[in-house]
Amino acid sequence: MEIGKHKRTYTVEPVRDPIPAGSPEAPKTEPQPRQEPAPVPVQPHRAA
């Protein structure tokens, strides 16, 4: 591609997600169901 003479150089911040929101390919942002803490097994009291 012919783009002519060089003029200047600069940097641009990275685009984290180039796919527009709402697209079928966009990452899902729906809230995830809250994870309940797993029950801690109770150790039966061992008789001395």
């Binding site: 150089t9 641009v12 685009v15 527009p20 079928p24």
Partner: protein
């Protein structure tokens, strides 16, 4: 770490081929055999390696580099005409034009840019046959708007897109 000069990506135009691979349709660069990945940016690489036979060739470097021609190219809409065939035919590879986001290291030239990172932003695809309709559906997997354009020549697709932009 050095802060970037700009926050927003450069938005420019370029041409691709939409290549029918049988199971899916992918974007391919016109000049080089580079397939554009889905869902992640294309990262520029310089293919000019040091050649022991030709001592004046450049050493391997990060792309795009000043003094080299490497990088991902894009320009203004009017610069695309020489890279499109005069007339389109329904084939395994169909010319496509569209906007592209450029970021990372950018070399700005008089008529366009060379960038280190890029991803398509929107695509305009000529509707030439039933195969074109399938290719358009498959190109939507890039996650960007894909617009069919009733065009069978370079002049027609450029005119149609210019008209859409002006509307």
């Amino acid at each position: 770490m050095i802060a970037p000069d700009y926050v927003e990506p450069v938005v420019a135009w370029r041409a691709w081929y939409a290549v029918d691979g049988g199971l899916s349709t992918s974007l391919s660069s016109i000049v080089h055999r580079a397939t554009w990945p889905r869902g992640e940016p294309l990262v520029a690489k310089c293919h000019r390696m040091r050649n022991v036979i030709w001592p004046f060739s450049r050493s391997k470097h990060e792309a795009p580099a000043v003094g080299c021609r490497c990088g991902i190219y894009a320009g203004r809409l009017e610069t695309l005409r020489p890279y499109l065939p005069d007339y389109f035919v329904a084939d395994m590879a169909v010319p496509v034009i569209g906007r592209v986001l450029l970021w990372g290291v950018i070399h700005e030239h008089e008529l366009g840019w060379r960038a280190s990172h890029a991803y398509p932003q929107s695509l305009y695809v000529p509707t030439l046959s039933k195969r074109s309709e399938r290719m358009i559906r498959e190109l939507r997997s890039y996650g960007v708007p894909v617009q069919p354009v009733a065009a069978v020549s370079a002049e027609e697709i450029l005119d149609a897109v210019s008209t859409k932009l002006a509307a």
